[in-house]
């Protein structure tokens, strides 16, 4: 009677200690030499494999791309930092760059590290992609925001040219909303914290003062807020937070909106019959036409055992030729200046607008947590007026108070 019990207990005890050991043990970082694990955001990893095939053939370094959904990148990164077991190289969305850099998990890419990889020098890339300080990443793909418009619907209302200023956008939107039948003129996604920032920039303002502190209490931001709320007051934009951007554009309910190149791909695949009936134009603006610079960088994991191979991969990916191939494969715009000026790329009328816009584009301020704090506070303040009829001035005072202490340093 006792024997089996004892054996069982011993077995369980052994199993437990195994579990605990697995939890606490630190696995050696990095994979096998000669194989690079690379985190690729979204669902592009299969095409990425295709992109790096020439690199694999030439160098004999195998590349294993791991798809990381945008929604779970924070958790995945946190887990990797906690366990010390990260990839060798990874794609980093610009909005996450500050957090990832602060974590200390990425290799510092100073001049000495990059000496043997001249392709990774900052001068090769678009301005503004590389943040100041010790860089931990190199530019990879660029993204920006432009004005999308349905040419067929606009000309149907006698609007032959896309709007150039925000006043024109608002006037157009009122005309388009007057079509009736549940139609609107413009779309302001309530989750898009970049749009009010772009509005502020194009009014000639900034949201970070000279000392690097976030400051929304400026005349330009006030005008941007009035613009944002004015569209709603005109009832020319849908006020539903769950309004579908692509369906709205394809169905014609919102014939104008501000979005990035990815939307062009979505619209083309959702509604090929609309080909030629829509187009893109530079971001409207009163003082400037400055848009958002988004996109992704590439970094190397500090404790990777394959640093050199990872840097060689980054070098390969930064080549203008590779970046042009990536645009063909995945529709993501290059960050290398030489690639952006390539006539092959800019022959596409949509891309020529993107490329032009990228020359006048800025990243969001590198505050510690844009999405979760500063950007959220901005959206909550504006949308509380839209959704609950809160007082504009009270909402903005709340925004100043919530973001007052935030700094980019």
């Amino acid at each position: 009677m006792r024997r089996p019990g004892l054996a069982l207990a011993a077995l369980l005890l052994a199993a437990c200690s195994l579990v605990l050991a697995a939890c606490s043990g630190t696995a050696p970082a990095g994979g096998t030499p000669g194989e690079l694990t690379v985190w690729i955001m979204g669902d592009s990893s299969a095409r990425f494999e295709q992109l790096v095939r020439p690199f694999v053939d030439r160098t004999g370094i195998r590349v294993d791309p791991v798809p990381v959904p945008w929604d779970s990148v924070d958790q995945k990164f946190t887990t990797a930092v906690a366990s010390g077991d990260g990839p060798d190289a990874l794609q980093i969305g610009l909005s996450k760059l500050r957090t990832f850099a602060d974590s200390g998990a990425l290799l510092t890419l100073d001049d000495r590290t990059l000496r043997e990889h001249p392709g990774l020098a900052a001068a090769n890339f678009l301005d503004g992609v590389s943040p100041g300080g010790d860089p931990v990443s190199v530019p990879w793909v660029a993204d920006t925001r432009v004005l999308f418009y349905r040419r067929d619907i606009l000309t149907g209302q006698g609007l032959d040219e896309p709007p150039r200023t925000w006043d024109e956008v608002r006037a157009y939107a009122r005309i388009l909303a007057g079509r009736g039948g549940g139609g609107y003129g413009f779309h302001i996604p309530q989750w898009d914290s970049a749009l009010p920032v772009i509005m502020t920039w194009t009014m000639g303002g900034r949201i970070v003062d000279d000392a690097g502190r976030v400051d929304f209490d400026t005349p330009e931001f006030h005008r941007a807020a009035d613009l944002y709320l004015g569209f709603h007051a005109d009832r020319s934009v849908p006020a539903d937070p769950d309004f579908d951007q692509i369906q709205g554009f394809v169905s014609g309910a919102t014939p104008m909106l501000v979005s990035g190149p990815y939307l062009a791909g979505e619209v083309a695949s959702a509604a090929p019959e609309l080909d030629g009936k829509w187009s893109v134009a530079p971001i409207p603006g009163d003082a400037t036409h400055t848009s958002l610079l988004a996109g992704s960088n590439l970094g190397v994991w500090r404790s990777s055992g394959n640093r050199d191979a990872a840097l060689r991969l980054l070098d390969y990916l930064s080549q203008p030729r590779t970046q042009l191939t990536w645009y063909e494969l995945d529709g993501q715009l290059p960050t290398a200046k030489a690639a952006l000026n390539d006539p092959e790329l800019t022959a596409d009328p949509l891309v020529s607008v993107y490329a032009r816009q990228l020359r006048d584009a800025r990243p969001l301020p590198p505050v510690p947590n844009w999405d979760g704090e500063t950007g959220k506070a901005l959206l909550d303040a504006l949308n509380s007026v839209v959704l609950t009829g809160a007082n504009r001035d009270t909402a903005l005072q709340g925004l100043y108070a919530a973001t007052g202490g935030t700094s980019v340093n």
Binding site: T78, S103, W191, P241, F243
Partner: protein, 292 residues
């Protein structure tokens, strides 16, 4: 002293799981909540600094925390009575017969509980979409204006709770059904001979005899709703304006999206104390009930 080891061996797996995934995290959260641990601190422990009760002080002053706490209270008030009432009613109806049709229905009612939450949220998201959703389309056919099911700061609580009730009833129906089967037929037959009506039998015989099932369902349901997470996370991400952010979702956002582990750990301890307190009150209530 020869204590048999077998009983310990048998409870060991459950105990170990409880210790590793239940007790240990709470014990870890306690010291973490007194630090400023963030992503950088996680990578390099020397960068963690002791913060005292600063996290708790910040929690008390954080409007988002109070909003999440209030939302969770509202969710629990909406959800718990509804789940208990609906599952009990459904179990009573399903208990009426054992034929094939009722057995199929039983599986049908259980289906939401085992369907993947992501699929559930996609379908409900489409159904409840303001402009393109089926529900508003049906409303429009009878001449009613569209409602912002997931976009209105007040209505969103009901919509999210509705999906959770729909998902949460399945398991409780099974528990009530199992308990209903334990009621001796003689009691019901005797009541029938005395001329008791159907409602009378339920109130005077079934409900009192199901007291333990009710207690179990009530305790687990209350805990589940205080830890409410899945539905707002996938349906609304806590929006609009944070009006569907539950306390668990708030902690998740602070901990895993913003990387503020110390702050999130402090909030976790507060949530743990709330759940422990509510559960103790419930169990105590049951004891008085039994003594009577």
């Amino acid at each position: 002293m020869k204590q048999p080891l077998a009983p310990y061996a048998f409870i060991a797996p459950a105990m170990i799981l409880l210790l590793v995934f239940g007790v240990l995290p709470i014990l870890v959260a306690l010291p973490v909540s007194l630090t400023d641990m963030n992503l950088a601190g996680l990578a390099d422990w020397s960068r963690i600094e002791f913060a005292g009760v600063a996290n708790f002080r910040e929690l008390v002053a954080d409007d988002a925390f109070w909003q999440a706490l209030t939302n969770t209270g509202i969710f629990a008030l909406l959800g718990v009575p509804t789940v208990i009432a609906v599952s009990f009613a459904a179990a009573l109806l399903l208990h009426r017969s054992e034929n094939r049709f009722f057995r199929a229905l039983r599986a049908f009612y259980f289906a939401p509980a085992i369907t993947a939450i992501v699929a559930v949220s996609l379908v409900w998201g489409y159904l409840l979409n303001t402009r393109f959703g089926l529900v508003n389309h049906l409303l429009s056919t009878v001449g009613l204006p569209p409602a912002r099911w997931l976009g209105d700061p007040v209505l969103v609580k009901f919509s999210v709770a509705l999906v959770a009730v729909w998902r949460g009833t399945g398991l409780n129906i099974i528990i009530f059904l199992a308990a209903l089967k334990t009621i001796p037929r003689e009691y019901l037959e005797a009541a029938e001979l005395d001329g008791a009506s159907g409602a009378r039998k339920i109130v005077s015989i079934v409900i009192p005899l199901l007291r333990f099932a009710f207690l179990f369902v009530a305790v687990t349901t209350v805990i589940a709703w205080l830890q409410f997470f899945d539905e707002p996370f996938v349906l609304t991400k806590g929006g609009p304006l944070g009006e569907s952010t539950s306390i668990s979702l708030f902690l998740y956002q602070e901990g895993f999206s913003a990387g503020r582990f110390g702050y999130a750990a402090a909030g976790t301890l507060v949530l743990f104390l709330i759940i422990a307190g509510v559960t103790l009150v419930q169990l105590r209530g049951r004891r008085f009930d039994a003594d009577r």
